[in-house]
Symmetry: C2
Subunit: 431 residues, 2 copies
C-alpha cells in the first residue's frame, strides 16, 4: 500500500492529537483512502517534555529544515502558529514541492494571498480546515458543498473565549471581569486574552470566511473590529429583557455591491439560533442564494476537534496527490458583484443605545432632538429605574442608521449637560 508521509512542525496539543488519531485510526483511514498516512518527522523547540503520545526519538528534531528538505515528505503540517517563522517554513515547503496543512488563521489572514498564490504557482495546495471552527467542516462546506452558491452574508460566533464570557454574563448574571476569571480557571481564556476578547482572533477567521464566500482577501485594516471588554452586565440584562442576547459576531455581508466586514458585540433576537450558542461553542450562520440560510455549529476548539479537521485535510490531500492535480473547488473565484469594501462610516445598522442621564425633565426631548437632526429614528425607549447614583439609564432601540450619523449624534449627546457617562452603543442584527 502506497504511503503518504507528512512532517509535523509544532508538537503541542493539537499535534499530539493528530499523531494519536493517525495511530488509533490507521486501519480505518487506510480502508477509506486506499493509502497509508504516516507522520515521518516531528519538529518542535522542545523535544524533551513528555506528551500524551509516545514517539520514536529518531523522529524528533529541532530543525524544521530536516522536514522541509526531506524529499520523502509529501505534506507539511504547520502548527506552530504566529507569523514568523511559520510563513517561511510554509513557503519553503511549497517550493520543495510539498502540500501544506495549517491551522494558522493569523498567518493566513495576513499573508494568505501571497501564500495561496505561491501554492498555486507551484501546483500545490494549502488546506486549512482547522483554522476556523476547529472540527466543524465549515471550510469544506463553503468551498465544496455550497460550490454553486453565491453568498449574501455570514454571521459567525467564531471565538470560544468571548462567547464563553458573554454567555456566562447572561446566564450567571456576572460581570465581564468575573466571567473572564471563570474562563481563565476553566482554561477557556489565555493569560493574555487580548486577541480573543478584543476581536482580533475573530477578525482573522472572518478574513478567511470572507475569502471563501466572496473570493477576495480583505486586508485587516478594512475590517472594523470592536471587542467585548466594555460590555457591561447592565447592557446584557437590558438586552435580555427586550428579547435579545449579546454575542461577539464576525460579519461579512453584502449590501448592494458593497461588502461590509466587521467584528463587534451584537444584539441578536432570542429566537435566532445564534443566540442559543452558549459557552465555548462556535457557530457559523451562512446566508446563501441557492441552499438558503444554513447553520454550522460545534466546539470551536479542543485537541481532538482541531486534529479531526487536520486529518480530514490530510485525507483530502492524499487524493490530490494520488490524482496529481489540484482539487478544483480549491479554486476560489471572486464574486464579481462585489465592487468594494464599505467604509465603516457608511455601515448601516440598527442600534441598542444606553444613556446615563440625570433625571431632568426634558433630557429625552433633547436626545431625540439630536437624533432627529441626524435622521436617526427611534424604535423604542425605556427609561429604567433610578439607580443609587441618581443617574437614570435610558435605553433606546434605533432603526437602521448610518454609522457616521450615529457617531456624530452620540458625540453631541454625550456633551449635553444632563448626560453624565459616555453613552453605550451596540449594533443589532436580525438576519
Amino acid at each position: 500500500m502506497k504511503r503518504i508521509n507528512a512532517g509535523l512542525i509544532g508538537f503541542g496539543n493539537v499535534g499530539s492529537g493528530i499523531i494519536k488519531i493517525l495511530r488509533d485510526r490507521k486501519a480505518l483511514l487506510s480502508e477509506k483512502t486506499g493509502l497509508e498516512i504516516s507522520i515521518k518527522k516531528v519538529c518542535d523547540q522542545d523535544i524533551v517534555s513528555k506528551r500524551n503520545v509516545s514517539l520514536d526519538k529518531a523522529m524528533l528534531t529541532r530543525d524544521a529544515r530536516a522536514l522541509i528538505n526531506d524529499p520523502q515528505i509529501d505534506i507539511l503540517i504547520e502548527l506552530i502558529g504566529g507569523i514568523h517563522p511559520a510563513k517561511e517554513f510554509i513557503i519553503e515547503a511549497l517550493r520543495k514541492g510539498k502540500h501544506v496543512v495549517t491551522a494558522n488563521k493569523a498567518l493566513l489572514a495576513l499573508h494568505g494571498q501571497e501564500l495561496f498564490t505561491e501554492a498555486a504557482d507551484r501546483g500545490k495546495s494549502i488546506y486549512f480546515e482547522a483554522s476556523v471552527g476547529a472540527g466543524i467542516p465549515i471550510i469544506k462546506s463553503l468551498r465544496e458543498g455550497l460550490v454553486a452558491n453565491r453568498f449574501n452574508g455570514i454571521l459567525g460566533i467564531v471565538n470560544g473565549t468571548s462567547n464563553y464570557i458573554l454567555s456566562s454574563m447572561s446566564k450567571n448574571n456576572c460581570s465581564f471581569q468575573e466571567a473572564l476569571k471563570a474562563a481563565r480557571i476553566k482554561g477557556f481564556a489565555e493569560k493574555d486574552p487580548t486577541l480573543d476578547i478584543e476581536g482580533m482572533d475573530s477578525a482573522h477567521k472572518l478574513i478567511l470566511l470572507t475569502y471563501l464566500a466572496f473570493g477576495r482577501f480583505v486586508e485587516l485594516k478594512d475590517v472594523f473590529i470592536e471587542g467585548i471588554s466594555r460590555i457591561s452586565l447592565a447592557d446584557v440584562n437590558y438586552a435580555k429583557e427586550m428579547g435579545f442576547e449579546i454575542k461577539l459576531l464576525a460579519i461579512a455581508k453584502k449590501e448592494g455591491s458593497d461588502l461590509e466586514i466587521r467584528v463587534h458585540p451584537t444584539l441578536i433576537p432570542q429566537d435566532h439560533l445564534l443566540s442559543s450558542v452558549d459557552g465555548v461553542f462556535n457557530a457559523i450562520y451562512v446566508s446563501s442564494d441557492l441552499a438558503g440560510n444554513l447553520l454550522f455549529y460545534g466546539p470551536g476548539a479542543g485537541q481532538l476537534s482541531a486534529a479531526s479537521a487536520v486529518v480530514s485535510d490530510l485525507v483530502d490531500l492524499t487524493q490530490d496527490i494520488k490524482a496529481g492535480f489540484f482539487r478544483p473547488t480549491l479554486k476560489i473565484v471572486a464574486d464579481k458583484t462585489v465592487k468594494k469594501i464599505r467604509k465603516i462610516d457608511d455601515f448601516e445598522s440598527r442600534y441598542y443605545i444606553r444613556f446615563m442621564a440625570r433625571d431632568l425633565s426634558g433630557v429625552l426631548a433633547r436626545i431625540s432632538g439630536v437624533l432627529a437632526k441626524f435622521g436617526i429614528s427611534i424604535a423604542s425607549v425605556t427609561q429604567k429605574e433610578r439607580s443609587k447614583t441618581q443617574l437614570v439609564p435610558i435605553v433606546m432601540l434605533i432603526h437602521e442608521a448610518r454609522e457616521k450619523n450615529m457617531r456624530e449624534a452620540l458625540s453631541i449627546i454625550d456633551r449635553l449637560e444632563a448626560i453624565k457617562e459616555k453613552s453605550v452603543a451596540i449594533r443589532m442584527e436580525e438576519a
Copy 2:
C-alpha cells in the same frame, strides 16, 4: 475546455433548478472545476408542459434509454423518485459506465446496498447529497469532513412537513388537523401526507445517515417508526410547560455495542438547539468522538436548495472523472464496535406519559404501583386541572425505562377502572 455531459431523468421542480443553475453559473463552475458541465439530454414522461427554464426540444425525450445508451453522457442524474423504474435506470447506467447522482432516498434506503455494490463493482460512484436535508452538506460532512471520527449518535429533524406541523401546533396553539391544513395551504404538505407525517420519509433518510455514520445498511424492518398524527395539542402544551418541545426525531444511537435506530415524536429540552428548529427547516445533530457535538441546519426542501446539492455532487464527480478513480471517502467502512441492531423491546428511554383518569383518590397510588412492579421509576408527576369531561390528565416524566416494561405497564394501567382513555407515551431525549 473538456466537457462533462450529464443526462437528467425527471424534468420536475428540482430538475429545472439544476438546469437553471448550470446555465446561470456556467462561468463560475467552469472556473472552479476547470471543466464544462453540461446537460445533454433530459427525459420525462411529460415533454410538453412549460417549465421555468426553456430547453431545446431536441434535448427532450420520453425514452430513458436514449440517455442511458448515449456514450457521450458521463453522469446520470436520477430525479424521478420511487423504486421502479428508477432502480433499473440507475443499474443500467452504472453498467454502461456512467456515474450516478440521485436524490432518491426511498430507493437508496431500500436498495442502497445492492446499488452501491453494483457501482463499486463497475468502478463508478453514486452521489446522493440531495437525499437528506436538501442543500445542507450533511453527507459530505459525515463522509469527508468527519472522515476520522467514530459516531455515538445522530439526532435528526429531517422531515420538513412534520416539523412544520409540530412547530405550528406549539407556536399557534392549534390542533394537529389545523396545522396539517395550514401546511397543505402553504404547499408544505402533499395531498396524501402519510409518508411524511407517519415517519416513513424520516426513516428512509435515517437509513442513509446510519449508513454514513456507522457503515451499515439497516433494513427498514429494523427501524422503529412512529409518526406524529396522534400528537395532541394538550401534550404539546404540557410538554412546553415543563420546558420541552415535541419534535419528530430520526435517531441512530450507539448503546454499548448495540445500535438503536428509530423515528418517533420526542420531547427535547427547550435549551437544546434542535428544539429551536422551526417550520420546514431541517437539522442534524451529530455526536462524534473527535469533533464533538455538531449541528447542521438549513432548509430541508426547495427547488434550488436540492439543486444546489445535486450540482455539488456533479462538481465532485467531474473531478473523480478527471482523476479516473473513486473518491476514497466514498468508501464507507463498517464501525466494528457495533455488534447488533437493538430490538425495540430492549430500547431504553425516558418517557413523558399522560393518563386520563377519573378523579378518584387512589388512582395515583395504583398507577405508581404498576410502574413500580415493572421497575419503572417516576421523575415527576403533575395532576392537571379537571377538564369539563370530568377526566383529570395526570402527566408523568419517567426515568430511563425499558420499552418492553413500559409497554406492559401501560397496558395494565389502561385496563384500570379509573383510566378512561388510552394513555399517551412519548419518548424523551436529552443528549
